[in-house]
């Protein structure tokens, strides 16, 4: 909780003035009974209606000033709490953006959604209520304690004992329920996760008729959440009755010891007892508000912990910030070079073993190999989504680790395996690589990606709406739009990660032809399962179980690389392969 203190910094003024206003209002409120006493003691006693009306006006004025003061407090509290929430969300989002994929996988998207919405809401609510309510209670408690001491020092021991007991109770309930509130947020994550799965996997769930078992899953998760919440509420529901019990026992003690003291004639009067009881009641009323706040604060600190967890997660791939990279863009330096690269995810076996190759500027390179052989892993190293275990990946003759991300990734257009579009229009999606892309740029890219045909047939053309993920387009259409998205910015290097899988062969061929014409100096890397897609490539890399088992042209590899030959023959007959 305290770690998030820095977010209050910009709202120092609000956090100080707000409670002060509230305090001022409380003081005015305390004056009202005095004025009323005057009305009765002076006005009624003297039968002076003029005085009564005058004092009445004073009371109304006190109310009006109190109202203004309260409004200022509410205004400041709303501003500070919403401001803190907004800043939290914004920094959380920024921080999430800076994390590498490994960390995001660990935290999980549904949990991040809950944290950036629900958890931030809890903290926000706590700030608002804190400013509104927290100042009044200590003021009244301390005030009453001091007043009690001035009345009778001995009797004030009862006050201190009661205050200490209440403090201990608050602390106990708070510390006992904090872990439970953390658990509750985690259970909320789980509900988010199951909901998300059921939305994204809805087809499969229906196809397998698993609605019932999915419902049981959520029933269990919600039951679990309800039980934990109810269990913790058993404890937190104790807070206000316990405070009530403590203060009333204190009142009993005050009356009893007061009676003894009055009886002994040791300086106490029955009026003093009434005053002490009244002060104790004041404390009770103030603490009851605090008790409700305590639950809120406990909830908020559980949420704050979860927010902090995100802030404390550091990206595993760290960017070098300096900008003056001297690159080598001559004809002789390879555009991309792998030197003795080893790679592993976490601590497992090597995913890539001793990979070395060079890709020259403007070349078209194919990467082929069995499922799970490391093709995608290999290309993920080029834009430095992951760092190598050993060896070097060089881009324009410079190690990718030396680049600022913008300079490296800005040159690379990637078409991912999973063809995902973002909600918005086609135009919005096409501007991902280059936000200043003109209509001509976009149309040209769409034409190259063989997507213009169907896009131009849509009622709104490139301004047609795209649903989340691109669900309103077929798999093949989505893939072509993703390709167009990647080439709109004229990248120096285009990486196609199995991006033709949903295309028929005619489209595939036409697309490759168009890409060739699109730009001459673009280096193209094609990861694929189809040997027909890459048979004309300048260079083909054959991967098998993380090792590079062949590199060369189609004809060379077909004659010399057993793995490649096998792959080709699984798709084409010998004559077709040699065509």
């Amino acid at each position: 909780m305290f770690k998030l203190r820095r977010f209050l910094k910009d709202y120092k003024k609000e956090c100080i003035v707000g409670p002060l206003c509230k305090l001022f209002e409380a003081i005015l409120e305390l004056l009202v009974p005095l004025v009323m006493a005057n009305i009765i003691d002076v006005g009624v006693k003297n039968r002076d209606s003029g005085y009564v009306i005058k004092m009445g006006i004073v009371m109304i004025a006190l109310g009006a000033i109190g109202l203004m003061s309260a409004l200022v407090c509410q205004y400041l509290a709303s501003r500070a709490s919403q401001g803190v929430g907004t800043k939290l969300r914004s920094e959380l989002f920024l921080h999430i953006n800076s994390l590498s994929h490994a960390e995001l996988d660990k935290l999980g998207t549904p949990s991040l959604i809950t944290r950036i919405t629900n958890d931030v809401n809890q903290v926000q609510q706590c700030v608002a209520m804190g400013i509104r309510l927290l100042s009044r209670a200590p003021f009244i408690v301390f005030g009453s304690l001091i007043m009690a001491m001035t009345i009778n020092l001995k009797m004030s021991i009862i006050f201190f004992l009661a205050a200490a007991l209440i403090g201990i109770t608050l602390y106990l309930v708070m510390s006992k329920s904090l872990p439970a509130f953390s658990a509750i947020q985690k259970k909320l994550d789980r509900i988010g996760l199951i909901s998300r799965e059921n939305l994204s996997g809805n087809r499969v769930i229906r196809a397998f008729s698993k609605q019932k078992s999915e419902q049981e899953r959520i029933n269990k998760a919600t039951e679990d959440l309800a039980n934990t919440s109810i269990r913790v509420s058993r404890l937190s529901a104790l807070l206000s009755p316990a405070t009530y019990a403590i203060t009333d026992v204190a009142i009993i003690a005050i009356v009893w010891f007061g009676a003894v003291s009055v009886n002994n004639g040791t300086g106490m009067l029955s009026g003093d007892i009434i005053a002490l009881v009244n002060y104790m009641t004041q404390i009770l009323l103030a603490i009851i508000v605090v008790a409700n706040l305590v639950i809120l604060i406990t909830k908020a600190s559980a949420s704050a912990g979860r927010i902090n967890e995100v802030f404390e997660t550091q990206p595993s791939v760290v960017e070098k910030k300096h900008t003056d990279i001297k690159t080598f863009t001559d004809e002789k330096t390879p555009k991309i070079e792998f030197k003795d690269v080893f790679f592993t995810y976490g601590d497992g076996d090597d995913e890539l073993t001793d990979i070395s190759f060079e890709i020259m500027r403007g070349q078209t390179v194919g990467i082929i190999g069995g499922t799970g052989c490391g093709k995608s892993t290999l290309i993920n190293l080029i834009p430095r989504f992951y760092d190598v275990k050993s060896g070097e990946v060089n881009f324009d003759g410079v190690n990718v680790k030396e680049y600022p991300f913008t300079q490296l990734r800005g040159q690379i257009g990637i078409v991912p395996q999973q063809s995902v579009l973002f909600s918005g229009t086609i135009r919005d999606n096409m501007k991902w690589q280059n936000k200043d892309a003109t209509d001509d740029d976009i149309v040209r890219a769409l034409k190259t990606a063989q997507a213009y045909d169907f896009v131009s047939k849509l009622k709104n053309g490139i301004d047609s709406h795209v649903e989340q993920g691109g669900k309103n387009f077929s798999g093949g259409q989505r893939q072509r739009l993703c390709i167009a998205r990647a080439i709109t910015g004229n990248p120096k290097v285009l990486i196609l990660d199995d991006s033709f899988s949903a295309l028929d062969f005619a489209t595939d061929a036409a697309l490759r032809k168009a890409l060739k014409a699109f730009t001459n100096d673009m280096t193209v890397i094609i990861v694929t399962q189809r040997c027909s897609t890459i048979r004309n490539a300048d260079q083909i890399l054959v991967l098998d179980d993380g090792c590079l088992v062949g590199k060369g042209t189609h004809d060379y590899l077909f004659d010399n690389c057993e793995t490649y030959r096998e792959i080709c023959l699984s798709q084409l007959n010998e004559a077709e392969a040699k065509k």
Binding site: V44, S49, V52, G56, I60, G66, A70, S78, R79, G83, N97, L104, L112, I113, T117, N118, G192, L193, S195, G201, N202, R203, R206, Q215, L225, A226, S236, S240, P241, A245, D248, I252, V255, W256, V260, V262, L269, I273, G369, T371, G372, G410, K435, K471, G475, Q477, R485, D498, S501, D504, F505, D508, K516, Q529, R530, S532, N536, Q571, E576, K579
Partner: protein, 580 residues
């Protein structure tokens, strides 16, 4: 009024817990009356303490004893009230979540396809949470509030009915003020919840697809777009909070005015001589007590309003139209043969864009049907209709002569085993995922299927083998591996009809051929549909349907179609075309 109907809908959801509600109210009555009574006892006790040597300890002791009993009562019943209100709201929240979730699986698939998932998740998580908060606050304040009002009213009436009447008539003023402010801010609270959903869906989309965001260096722009929502939420949230927070000081002001009015009126009456000073002070105390609950209710007004706005969004989902219900007397297929007839079917996703038109097809039991065609020609749509994910606009589909609408959806889908284009796994172990379609499968059967799908090898290499937990959507696996797992999963279901929609598009061809062989063994004598782009994989099919623009334009075996020299042969030969 819309506001009111939302509240009454929420109250209906509480009905099952009316027992708790009843106990809660009883506890509120007991604990509040005791809290009102204890000060009287304290007063009486003090009256027995007069001065030195003149204290009636016996009476004081008895009265203090009563107070002690009263305190125990208040503590216990207040706890019960607090606890039961929490129970009611948590259980209602649980029920609401379940209901919304059940709704996800009851609406037509098009609903899921066309709504933002992040926003729907936000309704399940944030909105329902807000409803729960609102409920707790409402009950806590309402119960003790109503009892306090009733109690003080009785006490006041006993003293002087005229002044009591003044208080009763004046106090609701504060309610008018509160409800006026409530109406003013309602729109903002609604907007606040909507923005909350927008933020969720933006985060869901952009955090869920960070890899793409990163590769396009889109971080900064994503942040800017997020900030736009975030700042709007600040703006609306601030206004909603402030407007809602206006209510409490305003009602307190109104009540302070009432208090002043009572004081002045009482004082003036006393001057005339019909009221004693003691009665005035009594009155003022009760006037204070009486107005307090009104203040407390407005104190939680923001939470109540957030709750109402959130509840409206929850009910929006709950009230979405369900799928056409299953027939009352469904036909069940025993020993499905797999004769499928598609009779003059037309379908479109949107009215103005006809997709499948007058589609007719007759598939005999045991046929292997391949469907090819350019992307977007309706292959996947055809499967959506066959499995009744979407309803046909006209025409009918029959299996073994039975219209698929005469069966239950479950009964229909049980006949199919399918591997879809969008392969999907859920978070859990590999074993759980493989058993998804057939929970009773033994471990041997699972391993056998995994071997047949050529997934056994890489599963074994994973850290915990079959017990390795895969993250949501299969994040830590390659697409090819996910597809292999989906195939193994389908193999375990042992269906009458098999559908493979681009099931092997990301699998290398060597593995694919082996997997196909395994499928061929399983599919012997069963009907199957295969959608594929790699024509090499479908050469052996009995019938190849060539689709274009929602219609079958060619139909026949591989050799027949090649001989025809039509669209299929163009498609087939394009894989040998040179690009340069």
């Amino acid at each position: 009024m819309k506001n009111k109907s939302t509240v009454s809908k929420v109250l209906k959801k509480i009905k099952p817990y009316s027992g708790y509600l009843f106990l809660s109210i009883i506890s509120a009555v007991i604990s509040v009356s005791l809290t009102l009574y204890i000060p009287v006892l304290v007063g009486d006790a003090i009256d027995n303490i007069i001065d030195a040597g003149n204290v009636n300890f016996k009476n004081v002791g008895i009265l203090l004893g009563y107070i002690a009993i009263g305190v125990v009562g208040v503590t216990v019943f207040q706890w019960i009230m607090n606890y039961f209100t929490n129970v009611i709201s948590y259980k209602t929240v649980r029920d609401l979540r379940r209901e919304v979730f059940a709704k996800f699986n009851n609406v037509p698939l098009s609903y899921i396809d066309s709504h933002s998932h992040g926003d729907l998740i936000s309704r399940v998580i944030n909105d329902i949470d807000a409803v729960g908060d609102g409920l707790t606050q409402m009950f806590l304040q309402l119960f003790s509030g109503v009892v306090t009002i009733a109690g003080t009213l009785i006490f006041m009436l006993m003293i002087d009915w005229r002044i009591a009447l003044t208080v009763v008539i004046l106090t609701p003023l504060s309610l008018f003020v509160a409800s006026f402010i409530g109406k003013l801010s309602h729109r903002r609270f609604t907007r606040q919840q909507i923005l909350q959903g927008d933020i969720s869906s933006y985060v869901e989309e952009h955090v869920g697809n960070q890899r793409i965001v990163k590769s396009f260096l889109y971080e900064q722009r994503a942040f800017e777009a997020f900030e736009k929502y975030n700042n709007e939420l600040y703006d609306v949230g601030f206004k909603a909070q402030f407007a809602g927070a206006l209510a409490n000081p305003s009602t307190r002001f109104v009540n302070a005015m009432v208090y002043a009015a009572v004081g002045i009126f009482g004082a003036l009456t006393a001057i005339v001589g019909t009221l004693t000073i003691g009665q005035i002070s009594c009155f003022l105390t009760y006037a204070n007590q009486y107005t307090k609950p009104f203040n407390e209710v407005t104190g939680v007004l923001t939470q109540l309003q957030t709750g109402i706005a959130a509840a409206a969004r929850v009910f929006e989902v709950l009230e979405a139209a369900d799928e056409q219900p299953d027939p009352e007397n469904p036909v069940t297929l025993e020993n499905c043969k797999g004769n499928i007839k598609i009779d003059d079917v037309s379908f479109s996703y949107t009215k103005d864009k006809p997709l499948i038109q007058h589609f007719t097809l007759d598939v005999k039991s045991g046929n292997h049907v391949a469907i090819v065609g350019p992307t977007g020609c309706g292959k996947t749509t055809f499967i959506n209709l066959l499995m009744r994910f979407y309803e046909t606009d006209s025409g009918k589909i029959t299996i073994d002569g039975v219209d698929i609408r005469e069966m239950t959806r479950d009964g229909l889908r049980k006949q199919f085993g399918m591997v879809l284009q969008d392969s999907w796994l859920f978070s859990g172990t590999i074993m759980e995922n493989l058993k998804y379609g057939n929970e009773n499968a033994t471990e041997e059967e699972v391993i056998k299927a995994a071997k047949a799908a050529y997934a056994h090898g890489f599963i074994r290499r994973m850290p915990n083998g079959y017990n390795t937990v895969i993250s949501e959507g299969g994040g830590n696996l390659s697409r090819g591996q996910i597809q292999l797992l989906c195939i193994a999963r389908a193999m375990l279901t042992n269906p009458a009809i098999l559908i493979l929609d681009e099931a092997t598009s990301s699998i290398d061809t060597l593995t694919e051929i082996r997997v196909q062989k395994a499928f061929a063994r399983i599919m012997e004598g069963r009907t199957s549909f295969v959608v594929a782009h790699r024509l090499s994989t479908i050469k052996e099919s009995d019938v190849i349907l060539v689709m274009k623009d929602g219609n079958i334009i060619e139909q026949g075996s591989h050799d027949e179609l090649l001989a025809k020299n039509g669209f299929y042969s163009v498609l087939y030969n394009s894989q040998f075309a040179k690009t340069s």
